[in-house]
Symmetry: C2
DNA sequence: TTTATTTATACTCATTTTGAGCATAATTGT
DNA sequence: ACAATTATGCTCAAAATGAGTATAAATAAA
């Protein structure tokens, strides 16, 4: 039996939290600025086992201290531990392992402070107004150039970026980010010394440490999860119109949906009940709905099976 | 900006791997026995940042050393860090964080060594022959008793165990295990000093450390993943009959499926192509299929959308 | 005050998918 | 030859889905 003994290596675990909300037609996350850094960061801090009985307790503390919010539900995303992807070349004397968490917030209980648009950091992920130009204008050509020397990655690129007949899968956010990093197309890659020259053109705003990687994980997870669990409602206010719910959905998955069918989907799902009130805005007033909590026992805990339209028939 | 400095706490990270395979009508995992311990364990070892550039490299090394297998694809499951759930009351001088990984193996390239039946450790998860007796005979009554003092957990129990009209969701493997642990119904809870008396009746075979928790995570993840990614084929041999594929599927999700519809589902999915060969066994010979790799670009990377039968219509 | 614009909501309709079976085919064991 | 067993093909009704058309109820503009 192996004794758990790694010698005298000092390991440091950092816990970072992506706090997301939907606000003003934007998917936003809680961002912090540091005086000595142009890139922003997430709230984060070290896991201190003597003070934090669990990592969740630790992350809650850091978030409370740094952005003054008491988080409700949080979800662990991933633990990153690859050397050299944290703080670049700088002292890795203490090896840093990074654990990412996801938290959802409602637009109301935002608290002051800075919220950043998520798609500002991932412009290629927002397809609400159609395929983003940056893909064909910048990303794909650059990846192609990179693939010449790295043809073993061709299959990954094809899958992640939906090329050569493959479909764009909106859940592959992290894989796309990783490929851009490996190909040296984003600033973090240059910062980490992975590529000599900085990228010709900045692809999305960079962030400190591995925080953009964590955001990519968060977005991918959220996009995936909303299809099988009712997480969307954690982003919604107490009462909301179906249109608002749809807009939040579209924000998250990054594509637009058919209005009437979305309504049918939601109403049938049983997740929602009318309040009788209506909201007044531009056009005809809309009914206000509220989330119907788990009191109705017969409903499976499914999500909204949104879909991007009928698939083109497969070839014979 | 918070400096990443946790004082001088010594953190130890253990990496454990659940290696699963389908064999002999059983879902099995690679288990190791130690002389001084009756409970079995997974292959595991400490993460040593100076020797392992990534955690994956580390885990591969431990697996190679301990069970003599070179793993193909692995997937990170979860990072557990709660105090007192590892090695019980014993020295937590070095705080242990535990990272679980999942790997899939084919029955052939098994290598020697011990494989254990997964459902031996989770008897309540195998519904292939209908609802397991242990649920109504032991688990639910015991949970009910526990709920008297812990009524805040009632909603969790209802959801996880599909009570009061809620449906059994086969993916909630971890949550069920956690509840059994919290309720003190399994041996690990007694071992960790969470409950004075050991459980009246042993619910599934216990394991060392948090390895059963990791197995629960692995099973839940696999059950979930097979619905949206073609992972099942990583458990299958090179060529296989549709029946074999179905049996593996049933093994994983723990329920039985309608044969003809399963065939229709698989054939339509495009994941599989006939080889022309047939297998001879008891009845009529079955066509042998092989997995069709990602060369067909037009196919989404979906999984097999198996389902447990039509839902009973919801009440009005 | 009409009219255009905007948004919400209701319905329709053709397809496709799904759950459930029945029917038939091709083997082996007796 | 016949029973048992497994594979495979096919049908059928119900439900879900994608894509509209039509109508309703507001505000903004003319």
């Amino acid at each position: 039996m192996p004794m758990s003994d790694s010698g005298n290596i000092d390991i440091l675990i950092d816990i970072s939290t992506a706090i997301l909300r939907a606000h003003n037609g934007e998917l936003q996350f809680r961002a912090l600025e540091d005086a000595d850094e142009s890139a922003k960061r997430l709230p984060f801090g070290p896991f201190m086992p003597d003070r934090h009985r669990t990592m969740e307790i630790g992350l809650r503390q850091w978030v409370r201290e740094q952005v003054g919010v008491d988080l409700a539900h949080v979800e662990q995303l991933y633990t990153f531990a690859d050397q050299g992807r944290y703080r670049g070349d700088e002292s890795d004397a203490r090896h840093v392992v990074s654990v990412g968490y996801l938290a959802l917030a409602r637009a109301e209980d935002a608290g002051g402070g800075a919220w950043d648009s998520l798609y500002l950091h991932f412009p290629w992920e927002d397809w609400r107004d159609g395929r983003p130009d940056v893909l064909d204008a910048t990303i794909l050509p650059a990846l192609d150039k990179w693939l010449v020397e790295n043809d073993e990655a061709a299959a990954r690129v094809r899958l992640a970026f939906g090329r050569a007949g493959a479909q764009w899968d909106e859940e592959f956010v992290l894989e796309r980010y990783e490929l851009l990093y490996e190909a040296g197309l984003i600033e973090e890659a240059a910062r980490d010394g992975r590529v000599k020259a900085p990228p010709q053109k900045s692809l999305g705003a960079p962030m400190q440490l591995d925080h953009r990687r964590i955001l990519a994980t968060a977005l991918g997870r959220l996009r995936s999860k909303l299809k099988y669990r009712p997480v969307l409602f954690d982003l919604m206010p107490d009462r909301f119109t179906l249109r608002a719910l749809q807009q939040t959905t579209e924000l998250v998955i990054g594509t637009s949906l058919h209005k009437q069918n979305f309504r049918r989907l939601v109403e049938k799902s049983g997740f929602v009940e009318a309040t009788g009130e209506t909201s007044r805005a531009r056009g005809r007033p809309a009914e206000l709905f509220r989330f119907r909590h788990g009191n109705r026992a017969d409903r499976p805990l499914a999500g909204l099976r949104v879909s991007g339209g009928r698939k083109t028939g497969r070839s014979p």
